[in-house]
């Protein structure tokens, strides 16, 4: 398929157009390139930047899709769910409490095997009404069958959206995927993005084929009847099997993406930065990668061997792979831009997941959890240095608190 249409572009990624766009706009551009059929919208900051840009492209005649502004997020997600059941490629998204308002629609989507792609412009959950980024919104669906991925640049946002369609719409998976973009840092700052040609995207992304699950008069089926304890275990097991097959499909998609678009993300599940010779590493998700990388370069100049592991795919969670990687170091510090009150060791969500992933590992380095950057508070370079110092102390055998709030007025 790919070979037949654009063999030359594999060698010529420079054919891309360069645009100065935000992370949100990059996602909107991906929707255009993927020729999405139905998009639903309901305004909430920071996600609304996506719908504004989509609306602009539709009104300019650049993009052909059904664009429906719903009366609330619940309907917004329900509409695309049904459109997807009818064979349409769909897109929607939300932020913070808007995402939570859609929760009932979010819970039904994975079990119906709807490959919906949603963008979550990460936003703190009310109260108080706050615009800034926190990851608790997207993480709220982590147990339900949603694939969850975090990106840290506009380019990665565009590329990941295309990859997400490819993975979600693969019949082996058929599960929704939410792409998390940190509010403000990614949704509202513009960067140079390589926008690929439609031909490349067509080569990468097959048409959505719902097969025997298609809601259509020619394929009479009943979807989601009442089913009690006689059926629930089997239905959940089927959804679980889709998630279990997802890592293999993600790997295939990134590999082919690199071939067609000329951008190779390496390990799809997490990015490693200066880890080759590191003594200790920090782990985190999203745009806090920028201050972390800057701080690491500073510390490296001072002879401190610190590295960074940026988790992209939170669901499926690459537990074995990550545990093996983290087992190489003398200490690990996980930075959560979220909280999980009353959880083990009062940690954030990512910390608990990493700690659980490490439990069966041969090497289990000391692990510290940090709660930082809530509500969009800046994670500063000195913050990163402080966290890194604590991890080094723990690695040297000096006990440290299991969880520390960073950047808090105390």
């Amino acid at each position: 398929m790919a070979e037949a249409i654009v063999p030359q572009t594999k060698q010529q990624p420079v054919g891309d157009k360069i645009s100065l766009i935000t992370g949100s706009e990059a996602i909107a551009v991906a929707c255009k390139l993927a020729d999405v059929d139905v998009i639903t919208a309901y305004p909430i900051r920071p996600y609304d930047t996506v719908m504004q840009y989509v609306a602009k492209m539709v009104s300019n005649g650049e993009m052909d899709c059904e664009y429906i502004v719903a009366e609330g997020e619940h309907s917004q997600f329900e509409i695309v769910k049904h459109a997807s059941a009818c064979g349409a490629r769909v897109f929607c998204g939300s932020s913070g409490v808007g995402w939570m308002y859609a929760m009932e629609a979010l819970t039904v989507t994975p079990a119906l095997r709807i490959p919906m792609i949603a963008m979550v412009g990460n936003r703190a959950l009310d109260d108080p009404g706050a615009f800034g980024t926190e990851h608790n919104d997207a993480l709220a669906v982590r147990d339900l069958g949603w694939q969850l991925v975090w990106v840290d640049s506009a380019q990665e946002a565009l590329d990941t959206a295309l990859i997400a369609y490819r993975v979600a719409e693969d019949r082996r998976v058929f599960l929704p995927c939410a792409i998390s973009c940190d509010g403000a840092f990614l949704t509202h700052s513009q960067a140079m993005v390589k926008v690929p040609s439609r031909a490349k995207v067509d080569a990468f992304l097959p048409r959505y084929n719902r097969g025997d699950l298609l809601l259509h008069p020619d394929n009479p089926i009943t979807v989601a009847p009442q089913a009690n304890e006689d059926w629930l275990m089997e239905i959940r097991r089927q959804t679980a099997a889709g998630m279990e097959r997802s890592p293999m499909v993600i790997r295939e998609a990134y590999k082919e993406f690199a071939q067609i678009f000329g951008r190779d993300y390496g390990n799809p599940f997490f990015e490693e930065y200066m880890t080759d010779d590191a003594d200790v590493v920090l782990v985190g998700m999203g745009t806090l990668s920028t201050p972390v990388k800057v701080a690491i370069r500073q510390m490296r100049a001072e002879g401190k061997k610190v590295g960074f592991v940026r988790v992209r795919w939170f669901r499926p969670f690459a537990a074995e792979d990550l545990a093996k990687t983290l087992g190489r170091f003398k200490g690990v510090g996980v930075i959560d831009r979220d909280f999980s009150l009353g959880s083990p060791y009062e940690s954030g969500v990512l910390t608990s997941e990493v700690r659980a992933a490490l439990y069966p590992a041969a090497n289990r380095p000391p692990l510290l959890g940090f709660i930082a950057g809530l509500g969009g508070r800046e994670v500063t370079v000195p913050d990163v240095r402080k966290m890194s110092d604590m991890v080094q102390q723990a690695a040297a055998g000096k006990p440290q608190p299991a969880t520390t709030w960073i950047g808090l007025r105390e």
Partner: protein, 392 residues
């Protein structure tokens, strides 16, 4: 380990939910008076808020707490000492929302256990409806019209206490007549004394007959194999039932009419307490029954009649109600029938014989008391039932 007692009450959803609950609560309360702990519960999966759906309540009692826990450690008992069937049409079998397939009414009755049925019929008429059972068991009839009422109204016709009196007779180890009478007096402040007398009368007059392994309906109950998770279509999507097909005229062999395909895994006819009987000679082929039927029960025959398919009908009576011709469709108590055969085929085969059968069936129709039909109905029924209660 002490002794465990299990009683099930098989009832019709909505119409008898309160009745079943009252019986199972009183069993536990009466046993409690004798120092035996117990629990009472309705099976959740039955979803009994549906007209006529067969459903079950259970009372589990033990001689001590540890033994009771043994009985509670399962979703429902595998066998019961006493099974109570509060509507005689349930003797034909039970198809619940909670499982797939048909279960005989006597399925859970222990060898030598007792099945108590409320009915105006004699054991000889009830036994042929009930499926064969490998081990002998006992059958007791509490005489009376099966007591039906609504979800929010309760028809206090003493059915509950008469059954409780019968239990004290067939299984005195569970509770004595005195214990159940004390319970009744305490639970029913106003009518307790009168109801305790009804319990006494039922106790005095309850007798049992033994049902032997060769007695009963020889039909094998239909079953359904549950697919495993890799065999099921994903996405909670199930293939729809196919549309249907034409029917063959038994005389000319010509194809015509329309018979819809029907659900093979949930047949629903055991929800039925009455069935429509059709007079094809007076039918004007107006189509109203066919249109109004909520379950697409009517097959359109090649000669343009509407034949209510008894494998699909749940007996709601909408067809009788909407039919513009007097006595063209008559709802008749389900106990009057022994099979689900096509009425239209019988009529086509031998019209005089069918007409004779029709007249006799309607003339001899047993009392029907299935749900609320008009204001004042329950007030009319209670005195009749109390008269029966007095006679035992």
């Amino acid at each position: 380990m002490g002794r465990l007692f299990a009683v099930e009450i098989v009832y019709r959803g909505i119409f008898q939910k309160t009745l079943a609950k009252n019986i199972s609560r009183a069993i536990v309360l009466a046993a409690h008076r004798e120092g035996k702990p117990g629990i009472s519960f309705g099976r959740y999966g039955d979803s009994p808020e549906r007209n006529g759906i067969p459903a079950k309540s259970f009372a589990i009692v033990a001689t001590d707490d540890v033994t009771l826990e043994e009985g509670m450690a399962k979703y429902e008992p595998k066998e019961v000492d006493v099974s109570i069937c509060v509507d005689d049409t349930l003797c034909k079998g039970v198809e619940s929302w909670a499982w797939y397939g048909q279960q005989p009414i006597n399925k859970l009755v222990k060898p030598g256990g007792t099945l108590i049925v409320t009915s105006l019929l004699e054991p000889e008429a009830l036994i042929p409806m009930m499926h064969l059972k490998e081990q002998p068991y006992r059958l007791a009839v509490v005489k009376g019209t099966p007591s039906f009422s609504g979800l929010w109204v309760y028809k206090d016709d003493h059915t509950d206490v008469r059954i409780l009196g019968a239990i004290a007779k067939v299984m005195p180890e569970l509770f004595s007549l005195a214990s159940i009478q004390e319970t009744i007096r305490e639970e029913e402040k106003k009518t307790g004394e009168l109801k305790a007398v009804s319990a006494q009368r039922a106790f005095d007059r309850t007798t049992t007959v033994t049902v032997k392994p060769d007695q009963g309906n020889k039909e094998v109950p239909y079953t359904f194999k549950m697919p495993n998770w890799t065999e099921m279509r994903e996405g909670i999507a199930i293939p729809s039932i196919a549309r249907g097909h034409q029917m063959k005229d038994p005389d000319s062999g010509k194809m015509g009419g329309f018979q819809p395909e029907r659900n093979t895994t949930f047949k629903k006819y055991l929800t039925r307490t009455m069935r429509p009987v059709v007079n094809f000679d007076t039918c004007i082929k107006c189509t109203l029954c066919w249109i109004a039927c909520p379950d697409s029960v009517f097959d359109v025959t090649p000669d343009g009649f509407y034949d209510a398919n008894m494998a699909a009908c749940c007996g709601c009576g909408v067809c009788e109600d909407i039919c513009p011709v007097d006595n063209c469709i008559s709802m008749i108590n389900e106990t009057a029938f022994t099979d689900n055969a096509s009425q239209w085929e019988a009529w086509r085969k031998d019209k005089p014989a069918y007409d004779k059968w029709l007249v006799a069936t309607i003339a001899n129709r047993p009392e029907r008391s299935h749900g609320f039909r008009y204001r004042g109905q329950y007030e009319e029924q209670v005195p009749d039932m109390l008269k029966i209660a007095q006679q035992g």
